[in-house]
Protein backbone atom coordinates (compact mmCIF):
# COMPACT_ATOMS: atom_id res chain seq x y z
CA UNK A 1 0.00 0.00 0.00
CA UNK A 2 2.01 2.93 -1.29
CA UNK A 3 0.97 6.26 -2.78
CA UNK A 4 1.49 5.05 -6.34
CA UNK A 5 -0.53 1.88 -5.71
CA UNK A 6 2.54 -0.31 -5.83
CA UNK A 7 1.73 -3.47 -3.88
CA UNK A 8 3.83 -4.05 -0.81
CA UNK A 9 4.70 -7.09 1.27
CA UNK A 10 6.03 -7.23 4.79
CA UNK A 11 8.37 -10.11 5.52
CA UNK A 12 8.71 -10.79 9.23
CA UNK A 13 11.87 -12.66 10.15
CA UNK A 14 12.12 -14.36 13.50
CA UNK A 15 15.17 -15.60 15.32
CA UNK A 16 17.62 -16.76 12.63
CA UNK A 17 18.52 -19.89 14.56
CA UNK A 18 17.24 -22.23 11.82
CA UNK A 19 19.43 -22.07 8.70
CA UNK A 20 16.73 -22.10 5.99
CA UNK A 21 15.23 -18.77 7.05
CA UNK A 22 17.70 -16.44 5.32
CA UNK A 23 17.79 -18.48 2.12
CA UNK A 24 14.00 -18.68 1.91
CA UNK A 25 13.62 -15.00 2.71
CA UNK A 26 15.93 -14.05 -0.17
CA UNK A 27 14.05 -16.42 -2.48
CA UNK A 28 10.73 -14.91 -1.41
CA UNK A 29 11.97 -11.34 -1.86
CA UNK A 30 13.21 -12.23 -5.33
CA UNK A 31 9.86 -13.72 -6.28
CA UNK A 32 7.90 -10.79 -4.92
CA UNK A 33 10.00 -8.29 -6.83
CA UNK A 34 9.52 -10.26 -10.01
CA UNK A 35 5.79 -9.83 -9.44
CA UNK A 36 6.22 -6.08 -9.01
CA UNK A 37 5.57 -6.27 -5.27
CA UNK A 38 7.82 -4.17 -3.05
CA UNK A 39 9.18 -6.22 -0.15
CA UNK A 40 9.93 -4.70 3.24
CA UNK A 41 11.88 -6.91 5.60
CA UNK A 42 11.41 -6.62 9.34
CA UNK A 43 13.43 -8.71 11.73
CA UNK A 44 15.79 -8.96 14.62
CA UNK A 45 19.17 -7.32 14.18
CA UNK A 46 20.84 -10.69 13.58
CA UNK A 47 18.25 -11.72 11.00
CA UNK A 48 18.73 -8.43 9.13
CA UNK A 49 22.51 -8.69 9.25
CA UNK A 50 22.32 -12.16 7.70
CA UNK A 51 20.29 -10.69 4.84
CA UNK A 52 22.69 -7.76 4.41
CA UNK A 53 25.73 -10.00 4.28
CA UNK A 54 24.07 -12.45 1.87
CA UNK A 55 23.04 -9.65 -0.51
CA UNK A 56 25.78 -6.99 -0.28
CA UNK A 57 24.83 -5.20 -3.51
CA UNK A 58 21.16 -5.25 -2.59
CA UNK A 59 20.06 -7.13 -5.68
CA UNK A 60 17.09 -8.51 -3.77
CA UNK A 61 16.82 -6.69 -0.47
CA UNK A 62 15.36 -3.18 -0.54
CA UNK A 63 14.02 -1.75 2.70
CA UNK A 64 14.72 -3.32 6.07
CA UNK A 65 13.40 -2.31 9.43
CA UNK A 66 13.34 -3.42 13.03
CA UNK A 67 10.63 -5.89 14.04
CA UNK A 68 9.18 -3.69 16.78
CA UNK A 69 9.34 -0.60 14.56
CA UNK A 70 7.22 -2.39 11.96
CA UNK A 71 4.64 -3.38 14.58
CA UNK A 72 4.68 0.19 15.88
CA UNK A 73 3.98 1.65 12.42
CA UNK A 74 1.10 -0.72 11.74
CA UNK A 75 -0.57 -0.26 15.13
CA UNK A 76 -0.06 3.51 14.81
CA UNK A 77 -1.87 3.39 11.41
CA UNK A 78 1.13 5.05 9.76
CA UNK A 79 1.64 2.19 7.40
CA UNK A 80 0.16 -1.11 6.25
CA UNK A 81 0.89 -3.75 3.65
CA UNK A 82 -1.00 -5.80 1.09
CA UNK A 83 0.72 -9.04 2.01
CA UNK A 84 2.61 -10.25 5.03
CA UNK A 85 4.82 -13.33 5.22
CA UNK A 86 5.80 -14.44 8.71
CA UNK A 87 8.68 -16.88 9.13
CA UNK A 88 7.90 -19.15 12.07
CA UNK A 89 9.94 -21.85 13.76
CA UNK A 90 9.01 -21.30 17.40
CA UNK A 91 6.19 -20.13 19.65
CA UNK A 92 7.28 -16.48 19.37
CA UNK A 93 6.84 -16.68 15.60
CA UNK A 94 3.23 -17.83 16.07
CA UNK A 95 2.70 -14.93 18.49
CA UNK A 96 4.03 -12.40 15.98
CA UNK A 97 1.93 -13.87 13.16
CA UNK A 98 -1.19 -13.70 15.34
CA UNK A 99 -0.42 -10.09 16.13
CA UNK A 100 0.02 -9.12 12.49
CA UNK A 101 -3.14 -10.99 11.53
CA UNK A 102 -4.99 -8.84 14.07
CA UNK A 103 -3.43 -5.40 13.52
CA UNK A 104 -2.89 -5.42 9.75
CA UNK A 105 -5.19 -5.58 6.77
CA UNK A 106 -2.57 -7.59 4.90
CA UNK A 107 -3.22 -11.10 3.68
CA UNK A 108 -1.05 -13.12 6.06
CA UNK A 109 1.02 -16.15 5.09
CA UNK A 110 2.47 -18.18 7.95
CA UNK A 111 5.63 -19.92 6.71
CA UNK A 112 6.44 -22.65 9.22
CA UNK A 113 9.70 -24.52 9.12
CA UNK A 114 12.17 -26.25 11.42
CA UNK A 115 11.90 -29.51 13.34
CA UNK A 116 8.46 -28.74 14.78
CA UNK A 117 6.77 -27.11 11.78
CA UNK A 118 3.74 -29.39 11.76
CA UNK A 119 3.12 -29.14 15.51
CA UNK A 120 3.42 -25.35 15.36
CA UNK A 121 1.00 -25.26 12.42
CA UNK A 122 -1.55 -26.87 14.74
CA UNK A 123 -1.20 -23.89 17.07
CA UNK A 124 -2.40 -21.44 14.43
CA UNK A 125 -5.93 -20.38 15.25
CA UNK A 126 -6.21 -17.12 13.36
CA UNK A 127 -6.96 -16.27 9.74
CA UNK A 128 -3.95 -16.83 7.51
CA UNK A 129 -2.61 -19.13 4.85
CA UNK A 130 -0.41 -21.82 6.37
CA UNK A 131 2.66 -23.10 4.53
CA UNK A 132 4.47 -25.70 6.64
CA UNK A 133 7.40 -27.98 5.94
CA UNK A 134 9.92 -29.76 8.13
CA UNK A 135 12.91 -27.89 6.74
CA UNK A 136 15.95 -27.16 8.89
CA UNK A 137 19.11 -27.11 6.75
CA UNK A 138 17.65 -27.90 3.36
CA UNK A 139 15.20 -25.25 2.15
CA UNK A 140 13.71 -27.36 -0.65
CA UNK A 141 10.70 -28.81 1.26
CA UNK A 142 9.59 -25.30 2.21
CA UNK A 143 10.44 -23.87 -1.21
CA UNK A 144 8.29 -26.50 -2.93
CA UNK A 145 5.34 -25.69 -0.69
CA UNK A 146 5.79 -21.95 -1.10
CA UNK A 147 6.00 -22.38 -4.88
CA UNK A 148 2.62 -24.09 -4.84
CA UNK A 149 1.11 -21.20 -2.96
CA UNK A 150 2.65 -18.29 -4.79
CA UNK A 151 1.44 -17.28 -8.20
CA UNK A 152 4.80 -16.44 -9.63
CA UNK A 153 5.91 -20.07 -9.44
CA UNK A 154 2.80 -21.17 -11.33
CA UNK A 155 3.22 -18.53 -14.01
CA UNK A 156 6.83 -19.52 -14.64
CA UNK A 157 6.18 -23.18 -15.33
Amino acid sequence: MTENDEKTALILLGCPQVPVQTSMALYLVHGLRQQGIRPVIAGTQAARKLMEVADPDRHYVLEMTDLDAAIDEITGKQRDFDLCFVFIHNDSGVAYAGTVAYISKARVYALLFGEHAEELAGEIEFPCEVVAAKAVHNPMPLKRKLDKVMQWAVSKR
Binding site: C15, G43, D68, T75, S92, A95, Y96, G98, T99, F126
Partner: protein, 91 residues
Protein backbone atom coordinates in the same frame (compact mmCIF):
# COMPACT_ATOMS: atom_id res chain seq x y z
CA UNK B 1 14.93 -6.71 26.65
CA UNK B 2 15.67 -3.47 24.85
CA UNK B 3 13.65 -0.51 26.04
CA UNK B 4 11.91 -2.68 28.62
CA UNK B 5 15.27 -3.05 30.34
CA UNK B 6 15.13 0.60 31.39
CA UNK B 7 11.93 -0.12 33.34
CA UNK B 8 13.85 -2.61 35.46
CA UNK B 9 11.30 -5.39 35.05
CA UNK B 10 10.87 -8.17 37.54
CA UNK B 11 10.72 -11.37 35.52
CA UNK B 12 8.00 -13.62 36.92
CA UNK B 13 7.98 -16.31 34.24
CA UNK B 14 10.78 -17.02 31.77
CA UNK B 15 10.87 -18.41 28.25
CA UNK B 16 7.32 -19.70 28.25
CA UNK B 17 4.82 -19.85 25.41
CA UNK B 18 2.40 -16.95 24.93
CA UNK B 19 -0.42 -19.30 25.99
CA UNK B 20 1.39 -20.20 29.23
CA UNK B 21 1.94 -16.50 29.89
CA UNK B 22 -1.77 -15.85 29.30
CA UNK B 23 -2.76 -18.62 31.70
CA UNK B 24 -0.28 -17.47 34.33
CA UNK B 25 -1.73 -13.95 34.42
CA UNK B 26 -5.29 -15.23 34.42
CA UNK B 27 -4.69 -17.63 37.29
CA UNK B 28 -2.33 -15.61 39.46
CA UNK B 29 -3.29 -11.96 39.11
CA UNK B 30 -6.58 -10.93 40.67
CA UNK B 31 -7.14 -7.84 38.48
CA UNK B 32 -6.48 -8.37 34.80
CA UNK B 33 -7.74 -6.69 31.64
CA UNK B 34 -8.02 -8.06 28.14
CA UNK B 35 -6.10 -6.08 25.52
CA UNK B 36 -5.75 -6.44 21.79
CA UNK B 37 -2.52 -7.62 20.12
CA UNK B 38 -0.19 -4.67 19.65
CA UNK B 39 -1.47 -2.85 22.77
CA UNK B 40 1.32 -0.62 24.02
CA UNK B 41 2.59 -0.44 27.58
CA UNK B 42 5.31 2.15 28.00
CA UNK B 43 7.15 1.48 24.70
CA UNK B 44 6.44 -2.22 24.51
CA UNK B 45 3.83 -3.86 22.30
CA UNK B 46 1.96 -6.88 23.61
CA UNK B 47 2.55 -9.68 21.11
CA UNK B 48 0.38 -12.78 20.83
CA UNK B 49 -2.91 -14.30 19.83
CA UNK B 50 -6.08 -13.10 21.59
CA UNK B 51 -7.09 -13.20 24.35
CA UNK B 52 -4.15 -11.31 25.84
CA UNK B 53 -4.20 -10.11 29.43
CA UNK B 54 -2.47 -7.36 31.33
CA UNK B 55 -2.63 -7.58 35.11
CA UNK B 56 -2.60 -4.86 37.74
CA UNK B 57 -1.09 -5.50 41.15
CA UNK B 58 -0.83 -2.47 43.37
CA UNK B 59 1.19 0.13 41.47
CA UNK B 60 2.53 -2.42 39.02
CA UNK B 61 1.54 -3.90 35.69
CA UNK B 62 2.08 -7.55 34.88
CA UNK B 63 2.11 -8.46 31.20
CA UNK B 64 3.54 -10.88 28.61
CA UNK B 65 6.67 -9.78 26.79
CA UNK B 66 7.64 -11.78 23.71
CA UNK B 67 11.18 -12.02 22.40
CA UNK B 68 11.70 -13.57 18.95
CA UNK B 69 14.47 -15.90 20.09
CA UNK B 70 13.60 -16.62 23.72
CA UNK B 71 9.85 -16.99 23.92
CA UNK B 72 7.46 -15.09 26.15
CA UNK B 73 8.25 -13.70 29.60
CA UNK B 74 5.78 -12.49 32.17
CA UNK B 75 7.17 -9.27 33.57
CA UNK B 76 6.19 -6.85 36.31
CA UNK B 77 6.98 -3.16 36.00
CA UNK B 78 5.90 0.08 37.63
CA UNK B 79 2.58 0.97 36.03
CA UNK B 80 2.44 4.76 36.32
CA UNK B 81 -0.24 6.37 34.16
CA UNK B 82 -0.68 3.20 32.16
CA UNK B 83 -2.74 1.68 34.96
CA UNK B 84 -5.43 4.36 34.68
CA UNK B 85 -5.33 4.08 30.88
CA UNK B 86 -5.81 0.33 31.12
CA UNK B 87 -8.70 0.60 33.57
CA UNK B 88 -10.40 3.30 31.51
CA UNK B 89 -10.60 1.09 28.43
CA UNK B 90 -13.99 -0.04 27.18
CA UNK B 91 -14.84 -3.48 28.41
Amino acid sequence: MGCLEALKPQVILSQSSFKEAREYIKKNVREYHEVEPGYKIHDVHIIGVPPLYVGVEGEHLIFPYTKPCHGTFVVKVAGGEDIARLRARKK
